[in-house]
C-alpha cells in the first residue's frame, strides 16, 4: 500500500500495462507532455511509436482507434475533455458501439477512451459536461467512473485488458486527490459497486465526483440521526444492480446523486431500475439530485448553484426520511 494521487495511479496502471503488452498503444492530443498528467513520462519510456501526440481531429481519432484495434492492437485514446466525445461521436456511436454485433462477433475492440468530466472549475459549458449518460445509451460501450486512486488503477487495468470499448472518465478536479493503492497486480472488476459508507435509513448512490459531497452530506445527516448508506457504483456499464437493490431492500429508500443533466441521466436510469425491480422495498419516493437541464455557466457562484453539493444532497435525503415516510 502507498498513498498516491488518482492521476498517478492511472499513470502507474499505464506503465504496468505498457510493460505487460507490447501491443498496447496510447495516443491523443498532447499525450506526450500529458496535459492531464496521466500520461506523463510515458513517451520517454516507451517511445513515440507507442505514445503519440495526434493532430486535433476527434472524428478521425475515434475511428482510428477502431482501425488500430482491428489490426490487432490494444488502444488507449485520450480525448482530454469529455465534451470532445461529441466531436468524435460518429465512430463512438456508429462504429465502436455496434461493430462487434454488426460483424457477427468478428471484431474485438479493445479500446479504452480516457477523458475528464464534470464542472466546478469555471471551465464553462464546453469543458464541463458529464457525458456518460450519452455514452450509456449507445449500446456496446462500457463506462467507468473511479472515485479513488485504488479503483482508478484497478479499473483502468481491467478496461485496458478487456475487449470492449470502454470509456474511463476522470473527474476533472480529482486528479490531485490522494488515496491508498495496493501494491502489485491490482484489478478491479467492472459491474461491482462498493459501499462507501454503511447505513440503515436510506440508500444514496453517488456517481463519480458526487461521492465526496455525498459523504459529507452523510456525515451531516448522521448528526441528525439519519443513517445513510452510500454506494459508489464504480462502473455505470455494466452496473451493479444487485448491490443497490440489496441496500434498498434494507433501507427502503433511494436517492441518486449525479452531476449529469437530469434528463436521461444515469440517475434516472438507476431510479428507474429500482422503481421496477426494487419497488416492493420502497417506502418513499426515489429522489434524484442532479444538474437541471442546463449547460454549466462560467461564473463560480452560478456554477456552484447548479452542481449538487452536500446541502442539496442532505435536503433530498431528509425529504424521503421525514416522518410521513416512516
Amino acid at each position: 500500500m502507498a498513498r498516491k494521487r488518482l492521476i498517478t495511479a492511472i499513470n502507474e496502471a499505464l506503465v504496468e500495462e505498457l510493460e505487460r503488452d507490447p501491443k498496447l498503444i496510447v495516443f491523443g492530443e498532447d499525450v506526450e507532455l500529458a496535459i492531464m498528467g496521466d500520461t506523463r513520462g510515458l513517451v520517454e519510456r516507451f517511445g513515440r511509436d507507442r505514445i503519440r501526440n495526434s493532430p486535433i481531429c476527434e472524428q478521425t481519432l475515434t475511428g482510428m482507434a477502431v482501425g488500430l484495434a482491428s489490426a490487432g492492437y490494444r488502444v488507449v485514446l485520450h480525448l482530454m475533455f469529455n465534451n470532445f466525445i461529441y466531436t468524435g461521436m460518429d465512430a463512438i456511436g456508429n462504429q465502436m458501439a455496434k461493430l462487434r454485433l454488426m460483424t457477427g462477433g468478428q471484431m474485438e475492440l479493445p479500446i479504452t477512451v480516457v477523458a475528464g468530466y464534470g464542472g466546478g472549475n469555471s471551465n464553462a459549458a464546453q469543458h464541463s459536461d458529464t457525458a456518460y449518460s450519452v455514452l450509456m445509451n449507445l449500446g456496446g460501450i462500457q463506462v467507468a467512473v473511479p472515485t479513488n486512486s485504488a479503483d482508478a488503477k484497478g479499473l483502468f487495468k481491467t478496461a485496458v485488458r478487456g475487449a470492449t470499448p470502454t470509456f474511463f472518465l476522470e473527474a476533472a478536479g480529482r486528479g490531485g486527490e490522494m488515496g491508498e493503492v495496493p501494491d502489485g497486480e491490482h484489478l478491479v472488476p467492472f459491474g461491482r459497486a462498493t459501499v462507501a459508507r454503511e447505513g440503515t435509513d436510506v440508500t444514496v448512490v453517488a456517481i463519480g465526483r458526487m461521492l465526496k459531497p455525498t459523504l459529507r452530506a452523510a456525515k451531516a445527516l448522521a448528526d441528525d440521526s439519519i443513517s445513510a448508506e452510500v454506494i459508489d457504483p464504480r462502473t455505470l456499464v455494466p452496473f451493479d444492480e444487485e448491490t443497490v437493490l440489496a441496500s434498498v431492500a434494507r433501507t427502503g429508500r433511494l436517492v441518486v446523486v449525479d452531476e449529469a443533466r437530469d434528463r436521461c441521466s444515469a440517475a434516472s436510469q438507476i431510479a428507474a431500475v429500482v422503481a421496477d425491480r426494487g419497488f416492493d422495498s420502497l417506502r418513499a419516493p426515489v429522489r434524484r439530485v442532479t444538474v437541471p437541464d442546463v449547460a454549466l455557466p462560467y461564473a463560480s457562484n452560478a456554477e456552484a448553484a447548479l452542481i449538487p453539493g452536500p446541502e442539496r444532497i442532505a435536503e433530498a435525503v431528509r425529504s424521503v426520511t421525514e416522518k410521513q415516510f416512516a
Binding site: C57, Q59, G63, L68, S70, L101, T103, G104
Partner: protein, 337 residues
C-alpha cells in the same frame, strides 16, 4: 471531376491474371444481377446498394493486395468484399439474413465484413472508412511487415472532413494508406459536382502523390493502385488514386419509389456508360478476345460457370437457417479481463 490521364500506357499482365481479373469482375456482376431479381421478388429483408458498372475498381485494386492487407469498404460493398476474396455463399447468406451469413445475419448487405481476410467491413456511415483505414494502416506500420490499408470511398464521401483528417494523419505519420476514390459522379440523388468545390484530386495533392485513372479499365486501376501499394509497402507513405467510373443502377434498388417521379440523371447518360467500350466487364471481355487469351466459347463457359456459382450461392443462402435472435445481446460485449 478531374479528367483521367490517357497517356498511361496499358500495363501488361500475364494471360492468367487477365483472365482471373475478368472472372472476378464477372462474378460481382452476375452476383449483383441476381440480387436485383431477389430484391424485386421480395426475397431480401433489407435494401441493397449495387456496384454494377464499377467492378473494375474493386477488382483492379484488390488484385494487388493479399489477405493480410486491409480494406475498408462503403455502403456499396459487395464488389469490394468479393474482389478481396470474401466468400460469395457467406455474403449471400448474410444478405438473405441467415445465421450462415458472414456476419451471422447481424450486418446485412451494407455491412459485409471478413476480418480474417482483412475486409474490415462495409460501412453504412459515409466517410467512416477513412479513419478506420488510417488506424489499420498505423497498425500495419507499427507491425512493420509491409501490410497496407486501402480505403474505398465515393466522390460524395470526399466531402466528409474525415477525408482530410485521415489524409493528414496518414501523411504526417507516413502510413501505408491508399485512398481510393470511386468517383461515379453521384451521391445518392445529388450530382456530386453541384455540391463540390474545386477538383477532388487537388485536396489530396496537398498531402500525397495523386493518380487519376479510368476506373472502368481494370488494368489501369491495377497499375495505379499497384504503384501506390508498392510505395506504401516500401515505407513511402500514403497515396491517392481516383478511379473515374459510373453507377449503372440506382443509389439503391427501388430508388424509383423514393424519387417520386423526379430524376437526377438521364437515361442516355446511363446508356452511354453501358456501351461496349465503357462497361468494365464488356471491355475486359473484348480485351481477352483481342489478345487471344480467350475465344468466344471460352468466355461463354466462364460466364456459365460464374452463373452456376451464383445460383449455388442463392441456394446456400436460401437453405440456411434464419439468424439467431438470441445472438444479438451476446454479441454486444467482448470478454472481460
Amino acid at each position: 471531376m478531374a479528367t483521367p490521364r490517357t497517356d498511361v500506357r496499358e500495363p501488361a499482365v500475364d494471360d492468367a491474371t487477365a483472365r482471373t481479373l475478368h472472372e472476378r469482375m464477372l462474378l460481382i456482376r452476375r452476383a449483383e444481377e441476381r440480387l436485383i431479381v431477389a430484391c424485386a421478388d421480395g426475397s431480401l429483408p433489407g435494401g441493397v446498394h449495387l456496384y454494377i458498372g464499377e467492378e473494375a475498381v474493386a477488382v483492379g485494386a484488390c488484385s494487388v493486395l493479399t489477405d493480410r492487407d486491409y480494406i475498408t469498404s462503403t455502403h456499396r460493398g459487395h464488389g469490394h468484399f468479393l474482389a478481396k476474396g470474401g466468400d460469395l455463399d457467406a455474403m449471400f447468406a448474410e444478405i438473405w439474413g441467415k445465421a450462415t451469413g458472414i456476419c451471422k445475419g447481424m450486418g446485412g448487405s451494407m455491412h459485409v465484413a471478413d476480418v480474417s481476410k482483412g475486409i474490415l467491413g462495409a460501412n453504412g456511415i459515409v466517410g467512416a472508412g477513412f479513419a478506420i483505414a488510417t488506424g489499420a494502416a498505423w497498425g500495419a506500420r507499427l507491425e512493420g511487415e509491409g501490410r497496407v490499408a486501402t480505403c474505398f470511398f465515393g466522390d460524395g464521401a470526399a466531402n466528409q472532413g474525415s477525408f482530410m483528417e485521415s489524409m493528414n494523419v496518414s501523411a504526417a505519420w507516413e502510413l501505408p494508406t491508399v485512398f481510393l476514390c470511386e468517383n461515379n459522379g453521384v451521391s445518392e440523388f445529388t450530382v456530386t459536382s453541384t455540391v463540390t468545390g474545386g477538383v477532388l484530386a487537388d485536396r489530396a495533392r496537398a498531402f500525397m502523390p495523386v493518380e487519376v485513372v479510368d476506373g472502368n479499365d481494370v488494368l489501369a486501376v491495377r497499375a495505379a493502385v499497384g504503384a501506390a501499394v508498392e510505395r506504401a509497402r516500401a515505407g513511402g507513405g500514403p497515396s491517392y488514386v481516383e478511379a473515374t467510373t459510373y453507377r449503372i443502377r440506382g443509389h439503391l434498388e427501388a430508388e424509383q419509389h423514393m424519387l417520386g417521379g423526379g430524376t437526377y440523371r438521364s437515361a442516355d447518360e446511363i446508356a452511354a456508360w453501358q456501351a461496349d467500350d465503357r462497361d468494365p466487364v464488356l471491355r475486359s471481355a473484348r480485351r481477352l478476345l483481342d489478345a487471344g487469351i480467350c475465344d468466344a466459347a471460352e468466355l461463354e463457359r466462364i460466364d456459365a460457370d460464374v452463373r452456376a456459382r451464383v445460383e449455388a450461392a442463392v441456394a446456400f443462402a436460401e437453405a440456411g437457417p434464419a439468424a439467431d435472435p438470441e445472438l444479438a445481446p451476446q454479441l454486444m460485449f467482448g470478454p472481460t479481463a
